[in-house]
Each structure stands twice: as structure tokens, then as C-alpha cells.
Assembly symmetry: C2
Homo-oligomer: 592 residues x 2
């Protein structure tokens, strides 16, 4: 019952009007002309709407089935996967030396948004392979890269990340899986991993597992963790498939959502693996690709919000209940469409402003990743490292919230499986959990990122926003509706940082007790900043005589809603933060 | 995997320390001694924990099945229902003249909370019968009451409410089901109703449907709606079951949650029914019991929050990950329990303060209903009418939020079916929708209740809170930690009312655009007020030398968290309200 329309115009707006990619000076971006990106996005949008979205509901209903060690994905998934693979989408932003398409990460972000919106469970198969390939590209030997990358980029093989074990998720120092060195330089991997997305399935000929394990005798805790590549089928010298490795899928997790993605228990029973990167430096190897992986989860958050919003909007325009209090809008019908009612609009505008603001923020994140990678800009790398926990935590929390709001637009219909909104809620929920729970994101932000470089990157963020405000205060519209609220919100963020500096120094619990609220406060400022940039871009386009005035005026009106109704949340988060550790730590554990 | 422990001590605290029921002067309350209520709650708690909760997960998994017009409830439901029925719980607060137990509604609220927490889908069968019985009691003829009430109170028969049709949910003026008068005084009911909870099932011998329909020739819209009683089996003069009525279950809705409750399409195919109350006054008859029905949904909200919190807390005490930054707490184990971490505590305390505050507010609501009904206090009736949309809307929104927070406490485990938290999320979600969506609650509040009695009831609420503050400002602890924050929050509520008066007068859209935020602003003030009352009660108990000092000190510490970290949300809601209609109404429907 649900539909998905690729938001091509909104995506092009962010890429060209807001980020102005061709003027950015990032190597490779000069090719991203509006016509070129439109052509790429058009094709990806067609696959998302026509191939992936029609499988979203049936995928949820059928789920994955494990029989005799083999996982069967839902009907149509294999054919859809082949289409995605043959279109070159699995290697879009990958190194051409190994068969990738060589486009910037920004383009993969835009296509990834659409694929995720259309069918999140499906896109996870593609996304996880991409992550595994990135880790191998960054840390693998030349031989490993030559062996695995071409097949991973082409999508003939897929990849996974194996971190979690029953006794450890967040605290990876507790890992028990062991890797015993063999005389031939390989390792024997033994242990059990859980919650391995796409750990086993029928979409590809081989599955390349990246596995965290401990080499006996190494250091305790996280400092003794190494990363291994462990293929399902060993690869022969000629690149063909050899014998089956000693690993198997021991069970599938029954979950609230993303039923079409196989969440596997993986048993390694003396499997053959090879060290990736240095021994005992596995965590570092994992962290290399953390920014990309977490940004892709942030995408999942708002992309589920986008598709949910589209369907809520369709319902609100069609469903006839009650009359507009200011005079009926549909006099020939039995009632007016519910979109006339202020509270329905409030609900829809909360959705719309969160989704569009999130997109702009995420794409800025992708641009920063590209600027770091392609232009070697270390400041951009530092900035994206600071922003990543904000993007992952805030955008997935708000993405889930958006799906719940959209479900509410439909009233009782939203609760039924028939209308399909409830699936978006169930699927979006996981994004708040994996790739580090959002609580962990907030600790990463406050405990690690905020103070890194002596706090310089945080100061640089303030300066970016402040200089944008300074440069544009001449415009009355921008000033009153966008820049003044942004300035207030920025003050709240600065006050929170000051509080952490002063009080967190005295007692770290004062900072840690406010970490989650800080992540949200930062998120609102960042999205508010993006709305100000979108407003500026829209005003510029209108001044330049853009033909589609409605589009840009709508952007301005939508942005005004965010600034007036969402951004004031910064004050609440600041109040929570500055109440400090006392209320949080007062109770003994036994008295909860 | 989930457990449920009846929160007897917390419930007794609200009933006796906070509401001080035996001193209240409400007829019937003099019998509610602590020993008596403890005995009742003990028994209800045992059923909740030992009979109903063990069926919660299997009920979700099996759901209801429709075969040849008959609905089969999940395994064990019939036996559990019989146990509830035989214990007299179905008629606990009902009129003894028809076989009810005659206890105050407050006691039904307390037992209802536990039954709902333990198994929401199960308790709906009981709750809907109660609602139907209440409508018949208020509006039925003596003959109708004698025919139906004893069997409904005893639970031998059950009842339903039939309002919604495919083309109308909120806007009941669009109802098409017709009721044609017959020479014998009965009516022939023809039409289709949807989303009829417990419309068909195997728990009782008969099902008494209350159906809204239009008598041909009556007034247009809601003024032409009448209420009918339409039993599944006609009742013979001797009270025995006669022939099958011409009505049937045409299908079961597939839903996100409450799988064990049958949500039916009901087809009335010339069924025989009898008018309840006056012709064309069906809406009024329905509204009579609205307060009770909506309060019971509010209960569902926080009761799912309660059981979710209990399970999140259990996990947080057991799960070992990471170390306390202030020094390890579990040196002999591989890691500390996660409850040591500030952000886990933040999460748990948001849950705990919402649940306990919601309970106090809901029980105050039940007391007001009793005060209106048993003491004939019209001010109490006006107050509960004002508060009901706040309780229904705020407590179900926050109840759902609590289940999501609890699910997050478990990280990845929270997303799995095995741990069971995700069911609480799915079940709690519906409470935001039925008995009038929460958007509709907010319109009822702002559009109808706020201005009724010329606004006197709202002023009376302000006065209740203000005089509580005045009377207790002498206590320094109360003043700084509870009364001062409450005063600030109350000012925000008053400012919102002033805004509606001034700006809503000029343009009703200014009030309607802020209705949802007003409901939440009011909810926070009301729950904040209850926390202040709980703090006062706890201080009193400590001064009186209560033996369980830990309990009361924990209440104080918990309340401080609410006042410091939840209550400041009032300012955000006020900011959203006073931004007015402009941001909400700016966009044309076509430009969303």
C-alpha cells in the first residue's frame, strides 16, 4: 500500500543550491554538474521506486528463513540484488583501480538515501559489503585487496562485520573469539558472534567476513583485539571459489523489524582467516571506517522518515474528515481533507522539517568526508569526526520520531499492517541501536570528540556558524526568521560547552550526565544551521529569478517552521545539562 | 523472558500517602483502609503476575484467528478470563443492584493498571465490557439494565463499542449504518463497522454490541446519531440465549501490536437492536462514559511504561559492560553493571519519573471521577472533564516514549523478540490512537474544555496548584526543589492560556495550532504538581518517623529528577504555542 517517490528535486537542491558542489574545489566534484548528478539520481531513483520499494512489504512479511545452514532471502530479493549489482551501484564511490566507479562519497550518500528509504532491509546487504570493502581497502595487504575488492565492488561477493558476542556489545574488550596463528601465516578462528547482519544469505556466491578476535598471548582488553578476513568459501589462486570454510550460521534472530535482513548467529569453528592490518590493532582498523558506517545509519534514520512522511502526506490529502474552521475547502465532498486542520499540519511540518534538515546535514557530512579523503583536508576530517556522533544519534532518533509522527497522521490506519506505516516505525527503530547505540554516540561526542584537538574543532564549528551569521545579517528576512533564532540556539550550545568545561573538570559525571542532551542540542543547532543555509540558498535563487518560485518559497516557509518550532528545543536540553550530575546520580542502584 | 512485579507499594503510596483516601470524605472511601486496599491489590497483583503476564508473549505470537466466523483467542486466554471473572474483577466498581462489587472507581483503576501492565491485549476484553456496561447503566431502560448488566458485570457476557466505519473515524457525522424502526419497537441495523475491539471472540457466551447508527429521516450529521444495543445472541425473556442475531465478524485487522485482542470488521445485516437513551442523542450517551474510557486508555499508556521499565531495570542491573568512571563497582567481574553509567541512569530515570508521576495523576483522576459520582461534586466533574484529554493524550504519549526508552536500555537485545521489550513498544503504540487520537484529545482540550464554564475550571486548576504552593512554601526542601520549579511551569501554562485568550480570539487558528503543545505543557504541569504532592507526602512520612525511610527518600530523589529534567519542557511547549498559526498555516496543501 505504501509508495515511494524519489525526492530528486530536494536532493539536487542540497547538492547544487546549498553545497554548490562544483564550486567547492574538492577533486572530483568538478564533474558533478547538475545534469550529471540528475542522470545518476534519476537512475538510482528508478531502481529505488520500481525495484526495491515493491519488495519492502513482502520482504517484511516473509522475512529470512534458515534451513540446513542456508538462509533464504524473501522472494524477489535475489533478482533485485542482481539488478543493483549490474547497474554498478555497489561500487559507486569505490576505487577504480579495483573496479569501482570512482564517484565521490556524496553521490553514494544520495543514492544510498533512496535505496534505504525504499527498502532498508535490502540496502543493508549492500551497505555492509561497502563497509567491509572500505576496511579492506584501508588496511588490507595488496594481495588481500586484489583478492577481495573487485568482487566486493562488483557485488558478486558481499561482506560483513563481526564484532558482537553474547557477553559483549559495547564493551569489546570482553571479546572471547580467538585467533590462533598457523604455520602458513593464516589463523584458526574459533568463537561465536551474534547479531551479524547479512551473515548468511543467498544473494552472492561468497561472503567475506571481517571478524574481531584475540590472538592468544596478546594484551588484555581492547588493546588485544585484531581484525581478520574470513571468507565463507576460501579463494583459490585463480580467484575462483575453493573449499567451504569452517564457519556457519547457527541461527537467525527474530526481531521487531528489518525482517528481510538476516541477523545471524555466526559460529566460527576453527575457520581459516587472515590478519588485516597489524596484530592487536583491530579496533583502530574498525574505527577507520566508522565515520562512513555511522553516516550510512544516519541516512537510514531520515530516509525512513522521508518515506513515512510521503505516505502520511498522501493520506492527509485524501482522507476526508471534519471541516476547515475557517471555511470549508471541499464543499462538494462530505468533509474536507484533513490537511486543512492545524494540528495535522503541525504533525506534518514536524516531519517535513526534520527530514529535509537531516538530509542537508547528512550531505554536508558526506561532503566533509570527501573533502578529507579527496582533498586531504585535515580540518574537514576533524570536523566530520566531531559531527558523526551527532548525525548518527540525532538523525536516527529524529528519524524514528518522524516515522511515529507519520503513523499518527493516519490515525487507526497507521496501526494496521495494511497501510504499511507501522513497518517504517519498526524498521527505523534499529538505527538508534546498531553501529553503537545512541547513548554510546553521546559518550563518544562528549567524552572523546568534544575535547579532541584541545577543543579546537568545536570552536571551529562555532566559527563556521558565526561567520555564516555575520555574512548574511544584511538580509532582513534571513536575520529575523533564521539568523536570530540560530544565534540564540548557538548560545545554548556554547553555554553547554562552557558548563562541561567548568563543571566536567570538577566532576566528569557532570559532563557524562548531560551527554545525551548535548547530542540533541548540537543536533538542533546543526540542523538549524543547515536550514539557515537552505534559506539563504533559496533567497539567492529567488533573487536570481529562478523559474520555480514555489519550490524556493516553500523551502523558506518550511525552514521558518523549523526555526520557530523545533529549534527552541535547545533551551530545554541546556536546562537538562546544567542540572548536572546530582539528579542522575542521587539514587543507589538498589533503589531504582 | 519478561517479568512483571505488581508495584503494590507504589500504588499504596499514592492511595494512602498522597490521596489520603480515608480522609477524603468521599462516600465509600471510608472503607478503603490500607489493610483493605492491600488485600484487594494483593489478589489482583497475583492474577496479573501469575495468570495474565505469562500469556502476554504467547498471546502476541499466536494472535487471534478467524475461522468460519468464529474468533479463537490465544491459548490460555479463556482459562485466564474465567479466573478473572470468577474473582469478581469484571464488576469491581459496578452497581451492587446488578451484581457489581460496589467499590470505588479508584480501586478499579489500580487493578486495571496491573492487569493492563501484565497483558494489555487481554485486559482490553475486560475494559471494553466495562465501558459498554457503563453506557447501558447510564442510559438504558430498566428492562435493558436488568437484561444485560448482571451478565456483563459477572463477565459471563462481554460488550463492545461500535463507532468507526471505513469512511469515518473522528468525524462521526459521516456514519452510514442505518437503523430502521420495526413495528415491535426494535430496529433493524444494517451497515459495516471497523476496528471493533473484542467484536468477536471465544471468551464469553454472548457479546453485547453498542452500535452508533442513524435512524432514516433524522437530522444530518452528528445530531442524527442514535445508540443501539445489539446482542450477538438475542436474549429470551427468561434471560437465556435465543437465536443468533444477523451480525457477523467479517475479518480481523492485522496490526502492529495487541495481537491477542481481536480487532474486527463487524457486518450488521439487518440485525435486531434496541434504542439506548433518546433517538438522535447517541453521541451524548457515548460521551457520558468518555471520561472513564479515556482514563482507562491513559492507564494502558503508563502501565506499559511500568512493565517496560521493570524489565529495563532488571537488565541494567545484570548486564556487565564497561567500568564506572569513578571507580569499578564490580571488581570481581569482567565489567560493571551498566546501571553505573550516567547515561543509562538518565534513561532509566526518565522512565521511572514518567511512570510514577503518571500513576499519581491518573489515580487523582479516578478520585475526581468518584468524587463526582459518589459525592455529587460538580466541581470535581468539571475538573476531570478538563483533565481527561490531558491524561489520555499526555500519559499515552509518554507511556509509549517510556517503552521506547526501556527498549533502548537493552541495546540490541531490546530489538529482539526474545527479550520481549519490543512488544511493549508495539502494544503501547495504539493507546495514542484509539478512544480519540491524541490530536483529537488536544482539540477537545483547547477547543471545548478550556473555555467551558467561562474558563472557570481552568482557573480552579491554577488555584489548586497555587494554594498547594502557598501552603507548603515554609518547607525549604519543598520550596527549592519542587515548588519553585512548579511555579515556573505554572507560569508557562498561564502564559499559554493568556495567549490563547488574546490571540485565539483574533484568529482561532492561533489556538488550534498550539493545541498539541498545550496538552503536553498542561500534562507536565499536572505531573509536576503530582510530584510536588508526592514529595510533600514523603517528607511528612519521614517526619512522622516512617520505618521505610529508603522508600520515601527514593521518592524525593526521583521527584527531584522530574522537576529538574522533565518539567523544563514547559518552556519549549510555550515557545511553540506562542509562535502562533503563521508557521503552521503558511504552506498551501499542494506545497507540502
Amino acid at each position: 500500500m505504501t509508495t515511494y517517490t524519489p525526492p530528486l528535486k530536494d536532493i539536487q537542491f542540497v547538492i547544487h543550491d546549498v553545497l554548490k558542489v562544483t564550486e567547492s574545489g574538492i577533486p572530483g566534484y568538478e564533474e558533478l554538474s547538475p545534469d550529471f548528478t540528475q542522470a545518476v539520481l534519476d537512475e538510482a531513483g528508478k531502481i529505488a521506486a520500481n525495484v526495491l520499494h515493491p519488495l519492502n512489504k513482502t520482504g517484511d512479511e516473509q522475512g529470512c528463513v534458515l534451513e540446513n545452514g542456508v538462509v533464504r532471502t524473501p522472494e524477489g530479493f535475489k533478482a533485485a540484488y542482481d539488478q543493483v549489482r549490474e547497474g554498478g551501484w555497489t561500487g559507486l564511490d569505490c576505487n577504480p583501480a579495483f573496479g569501482g566507479q570512482g564517484l565521490p562519497h556524496l553521490m553514494n550518500t544520495a543514492t544510498g538515501e533512496m535505496f534505504s528509504a525504499a527498502n532498508m532491509a535490502f540496502q543493508m546487504y549492500v551497505g555492509l559489503s561497502h563497509g567491509a570493502a572500505s576496511a579492506l581497502h584501508a588496511h588490507g595487504t595488496e594481495e588481500q585487496k586484489a583478492t577481495y575488492l573487485p568482487k566486493l565492488y562488483s557485488g558478486e561477493w558481499s561482506g560483513t562485520m563481526n564484532l558482537t558476542e553474547p557477553q559483549c556489545g559495547t564493551d569489546l574488550g570482553l571479546i572471547r573469539t580467538k585467533a590462533e596463528p598457523q604455520p602458513d601465516g593464516s589463523y584458526r578462528i574459533t568463537g561465536q558472534k551474534i547479531w551479524i547482519s547479512a551473515g548468511e544469505h543467498d544473494l552472492t556466491d561468497n561472503i567475506i567476513h571481517l571478524v574481531l578476535a584475540k590472538i592468544p598471548g596478546g594484551p588484555e582488553g581492547v588493546k588485544g583485539i585484531s581484525l581478520f578476513v574470513v571468507p565463507k568459501f576460501l579463494v583459490k589462486e585463480d580467484g575462483g571459489l575453493g573449499e567451504r570454510n569452517r564457519l556457519s550460521c547457527g541461527g537467525l534472530e527474530q526481531k521487531m523489524g528489518i525482517h528481510a535482513n538476516a541477523t545471524c548467529v555466526m559460529d566460527y569453528d576453527g575457520a581459516t582467516g587472515w590478519l588485516v592490518g597489524e596484530a592487536h590493532k583491530g579496533m583502530r582498523a574498525m574505527f577507520t571506517m566508522m565515520n562512513e558506517a555511522r553516516l550510512s545509519v544516519a541516512l537510514q534514520g531520515f530516509s525512513q522518515g522521508e518515506v513515512a512522511y510521503q505516505n502520511a502526506l498522501g493520506f492527509a490529502r485524501e482522507r476526508l474528515q471534519g471541516r476547515d474552521v475557517t471555511g470549508m475547502k471541499n464543499p462538494d465532498g462530505p468533509a474536507d481533507p484533513i490537511i486543512v486542520h492545524p494540528d495535522v499540519r503541525r504533525n506534518l511540518l514536524d516531519q517535513k522539517t526534520l527530514v529535509e534538515g537531516s538530509r542537508a546535514l547528512a550531505y554536508w557530512g558526506a561532503e566533509l568526508i570527501d573533502r578529507g579523503r579527496l582533498a586531504g583536508d585535515e580540518d574537514a576530517e576533524a570536523m566530520i569526526s566531531l559531527l558523526i556522533p551527532v548525525m548518527k544519534g540525532f538523525l536516527t532518533d529524529k528519524g524514528f520520531e518522524t516515522t511515529v509522527l507519520a503513523q499518527q497522521t493516519l490515525g487507526g490506519s497507521g496501526f494496521t499492517k495494511q497501510w504499511g506505516l507501522e513497518q517504517f516505525v519498526r524498521d527505523a527503530r534499529i538505527a538508534m541501536v546498531y553501529e553503537g547505540t545512541n547513548g554510546i554516540q553521546s559518550l563518544d561526542l562528549v567524552g572523546r570528540k568534544l575535547g579532541s584537538n584541545g577543543g579546537q574543532t568545536m570552536m571551529a564549528f562555532f566559527e563556521i556558524v558565526k561567520s555564516f551569521i555575520r555574512e548574511n545579517e544584511g538580509s532582513e528576512t534571513l536575520k529575523s526568521d533564521f539568523l536570530d533564532p540560530l544565534k540564540e540556539a548557538l548560545k545554548d550550545l556554547q553555554a553547554a560547552v562552557m558548563y562541561f568545561m567548568a563543571e566536567g573538570m570538577k566532576n566528569p559525571l557532570n559532563a557524562l550526565s548531560g551527554s545525551y542532551d548535548f547530542m540533541h542540542l548540537f543536533g538542533h543547532v546543526a540542523v538549524g544551521f543547515m536550514w539557515a543555509r537552505m534559506a539563504k540558498a533559496s533567497l539567492d535563487a529567488l533573487e536570481d529569478g529562478a523559474s520555480d518560485r514555489d519550490f524556493y518559497e516553500t523551502k523558506l516557509a518550511t525552514g521558518r517552521y523549523y526555526m520557530a518550532r523545533q529549534l527552541p528545543a535547545t533551551r530545554l536540553h541546556l536546562a537538562r545539562i546544567t542540572s548536572g550530575a546530582e539528579p542522575v546520580m542521587a539514587l543507589e542502584a538498589a533503589n531504582f
